[in-house]
């Protein structure tokens, strides 16, 4: 990035070239500029993601044939644990809020930074420390944790592996997530530009607002739960240990009280990204703005009350199961509202299939599959049949990877030119997309089938009749990884050497980030804008277009929309 020439804009330098108190690496890792912190997160995030992908690849390779293929069973247990921990705590949860939320939330609401810039930097330090601890636990004697990312008791207090490290890492990451959420809520309440009413906020900000509330409401619970296991392992107080009278089921409750809402921490911001991209590339006002905004809140609300659907097989009371099943079905309503509104926005739009749009559409497709199979699991009878099978693995990869992961890729392709002032190769990006998309479905769809037929999840070995599904799935993982390699080579090359972009608005978006310099200046706005219109006023397709143009020519064109 350093070789990029200084871009002078109205006497202000781009945030990439801004001269602060420090220079070199320090000017990044001690920066309180929300944009630089966003980039810091992006760097960390993609590094951990690469590690997670390698682990995923190894799991698939091991499963290509029954019995031992490339590793022993203990290594396999550790690898699927690390794959889960890294992907969930280091990639998917922080993914959109920490990278794109940090970078674009203040810009989208017309602010110069978040409410607490130094706290923001502290969050990143906690994130990176947690990440490094998780990685260090691999190298220490005793070996990496082998409990699965759920750390279920009693195994997690009996295993001899470095669970303490991994759990402490997760605790720090949770703390980082809480601080980011707290920061965003305060920012949205206090720092919106004049005229930026709640219903003039872009939908991505709404999504981040809902997410931030889940972050601060749910994460403390996992914090205390992980602390308790640490105490349990070190001191043996017996709060969860059945040998001392503790109840392991209570651990599961506490774990899922956080970890189910965490699923919405992951998916809601991705829905926000899709809500941004679809109107831009369909050239239409978003359909049902308020419904999309409130459905984010609805998902946050209902999503906090459904955790026990992860525990239908542990033996709860029938009433409890019934209530949790019903609430689970209810979450589908706000999610479906979003999907219908996106589709309605596309209807009669002039759709441009640029890379961000391809990913946004893939999100809708993959998320719908993931979401609908989720509704299936909400039904008690079906759930008992597919509990702990590969069906579950397929479901959450469709939601988490096909949903949030694809949301992150969409955001990368959409905002990267704005963030770095350089463009990637669109053709290559499209090729990468198709490899990714085909690989993804080849990888995960067979898991639905084998799971339905009874293939358990997390198993090292399997019966020969499942071989064919595992083989298809493993080949899918190769295609997918090829797609990822092409995608990231293209993005990184674009970021470093791609053609320069100085145009403010390359996609024709109407939200504030497209009205400022590319890349943004250190202060984002030379002057804080006054907001007079909603975020998705695409006049070209509206009947009043002519009127609006003449209106703008009468000298009002300078106002920010």
């Amino acid at each position: 990035m350093s070789q990029a020439a200084v871009i002078h804009t109205n006497g202000h330098t781009s945030y990439l070239e801004h001269k602060g108190k420090y220079s070199g690496l320090k000017s990044w890792i001690f920066s309180t500029d929300h944009k630089r912190i966003g980039i810091l997160y992006l760097t960390g995030l993609l590094t951990f993601y690469a590690v997670g992908v390698v682990f995923g690849f190894l799991i698939r390779l091991e499963l290509i044939a029954p019995g031992r293929t490339i590793m022993d069973a203990q290594t396999y247990n550790s690898i699927f644990t690390l794959h889960g921990v890294i992907m969930i705590f280091l990639f998917v949860i922080p993914g959109l809020p920490a990278v794109f939320g940090n970078f674009f939330l203040p810009i989208m609401i017309g602010a110069k930074d978040v409410a607490f810039p130094r706290l923001n930097l502290l969050s990143w330090w906690l994130y990176i420390t947690g990440g490094l601890l998780a990685i260090i636990s691999i190298l220490l004697p005793g070996g990496p944790a082998d409990t699965g990312w759920t750390f279920y008791i009693p195994y997690s207090i009996r295993t001899g592996t470095n669970v303490l490290f991994t759990m402490f890492a997760a605790f720090l990451l949770g703390f980082s997530s809480i601080l980011t959420g707290l920061n965003f809520i305060t920012t949205i309440h206090r720092m919106r530009a004049p005229g930026m009413g709640w219903f003039k906020m872009p939908l991505f900000s709404w999504a981040l607002y809902a997410t931030a509330w889940i972050q601060i409401l749910a994460t403390p619970i996992i914090g205390i739960t992980l602390l308790l296991i640490i105490v349990e392992r070190v001191l043996g107080v017996g709060l969860f240990d059945p040998a001392l009278g503790g109840d392991p089921i209570l651990y599961q409750h506490l774990f899922w009280i956080y970890s189910h809402p965490a699923v919405y921490i992951m998916i809601v911001p991705a829905m926000g990204v899709v809500s941004e991209i679809i109107p831009v590339f369909a050239r239409r006002t978003i359909f049902g703005y308020k419904f999309i905004a409130f459905s984010s809140i609805g998902i946050a609300l209902f999503g906090s009350l459904v955790w026990a659907h992860h525990m239908f097989a542990v033996g709860m009371s029938d009433t409890g199961q019934f209530v949790f099943s019903l609430l689970t079905f209810l979450v589908a309503i706000p999610s479906a509202i979003k999907v219908f509104n996106w589709t309605a926005t596309l209807y009669k739009g002039s759709i441009q299939l640029d890379p961000p749009m391809l990913y946004a559409l893939a999100f809708i497709f993959l998320f719908s599959i993931g979401g609908l199979t989720g509704v299936m699991q909400g039904a008690l009878s079906v759930d008992i049949h597919i509990t702990d099978t590969a069906f579950i693995v397929a479901h959450f990869h469709y939601v988490m990877f096909g949903g949030t992961g694809v949301g992150i890729f969409a955001a990368l392709h959409y905002w990267m030119p704005k963030m770095f002032g350089r463009m990637y190769n669109k053709k290559v990006a499209k090729v990468a997309f198709w490899f990714f998309f085909i690989g993804f479905n080849t990888l995960y769809f067979p898991m639905f089938v084998m799971g339905w037929l009874g293939m358990p999840r997390r198993y090292y070995d399997y019966l020969p009749e499942y071989t064919i599904y595992h083989q298809i799935s493993t080949v899918g993982s190769w295609i997918l990884i090829l797609g990822l390699i092409i995608m990231f080579t293209n993005l990184i090359r674009g970021m470093r050497k791609g053609p320069k972009v100085t145009e403010k608005n390359i996609w024709g978006g109407e939200t504030l980030e497209w009205q400022i310099e590319t890349p943004p200046t250190h202060e984002n706005f030379a002057e804080i804008p006054v907001i007079t219109e909603g975020p998705y006023e695409y006049k070209q397709n509206e009947p009043e277009y002519e009127e609006a143009v003449s209106h703008e020519e009468n000298g009002k064109g300078k106002e920010f929309k």
Binding site: H18, T32, D33, A111, K112, D113, A115, F116, P117, L119, I178, L182, N183, I185, T186, H189, R190, M191, A193, P194, I216, L217, T219, P220, I221, G223, I224, T225, L227, L228, V231, L235, G236, V237, G238, L239, L244, G245, G246, D247, L250, L254, H522, E523, N524, I528
Partner: protein
């Protein structure tokens, strides 16, 4: 209170370091909310285990010394008063008075911790600590009672320590005039934290000492 100036930043430095007291308070309240939820997980465990082991909790609670508990409650409540007074003092521009009240608050916190130290050592000398022989010979419900007792009062004690450090830093800020009559939101935030610590103790005290 001065007018927060988030939108008037003219220079680059102001752009990233504006002052907004309402935002600071909001952030602190949100943080306290997460602290409540952190302890909430423990209160949840307490209520479930109490429901499952009524008798054992009843018996085990007799082991705790109500007098020490009551004394500590009095100490913490007084410290909350002195904390509030220190803020009142700074609002009236009585810097040294505020400093004195802050120091009393820290001293009371220290008193609480010393009491706690003697209380815990007494238990430990009786062999009541996790994994000890005495402990393992107890009923399961009692093991959990003492487990919860150590974890909850331990985590609370940790918060008292953090609060003491926080207030000491504020005392330093007050002496350096960083905290003054026109800008005392930091002291207020530390005060809020201290009151939270106090309030959690007010729930811990009856749950462990009084319900026998």
């Amino acid at each position: 209170m001065s007018i927060p100036a988030p939108f008037t930043g003219k220079t680059e430095h102001e752009a990233h370091a504006h002052r907004d007291d309402i935002a600071s308070r909001m952030g602190m309240w949100l943080f306290l909310f997460t602290e409540l939820l952190l302890f909430g997980g423990l209160f949840f465990l307490y209520s479930v285990y109490r429901y499952e082991n009524k008798e054992a909790f009843h018996d085990a609670a007799r082991e705790l010394d109500t007098l020490i508990g009551a004394f500590n409650t009095a100490i913490l409540l007084t410290s909350s008063l002195t904390m509030a007074l220190s803020i009142a003092a700074i609002q009236k521009n009585k810097k040294m008075l505020s400093v004195v009240f802050q120091m009393i608050t820290v001293a009371l916190g220290l008193g609480f911790m010393i009491n706690k130290y003697f209380e815990w050592s007494l238990k430990i000398s009786h062999g009541l600590y996790p994994k000890s022989e005495v402990m393992l010979s107890l009923d399961h419900g009692e093991i959990i009672f003492f487990g919860l007792y150590y974890v909850m009062t331990g985590l609370h004690g940790l918060h008292v320590l953090v609060g003491m450090v926080l207030i000491s830093v504020m005392t330093n800020f007050t002496l350096k005039n960083i905290i003054n009559r026109d800008n005392y939101v930091k002291l207020e935030a530390a005060g809020l934290y201290w009151h939270l610590v106090d309030i959690i103790w007010i729930f811990l005290f009856p749950l462990f000492y009084l319900i026998t």
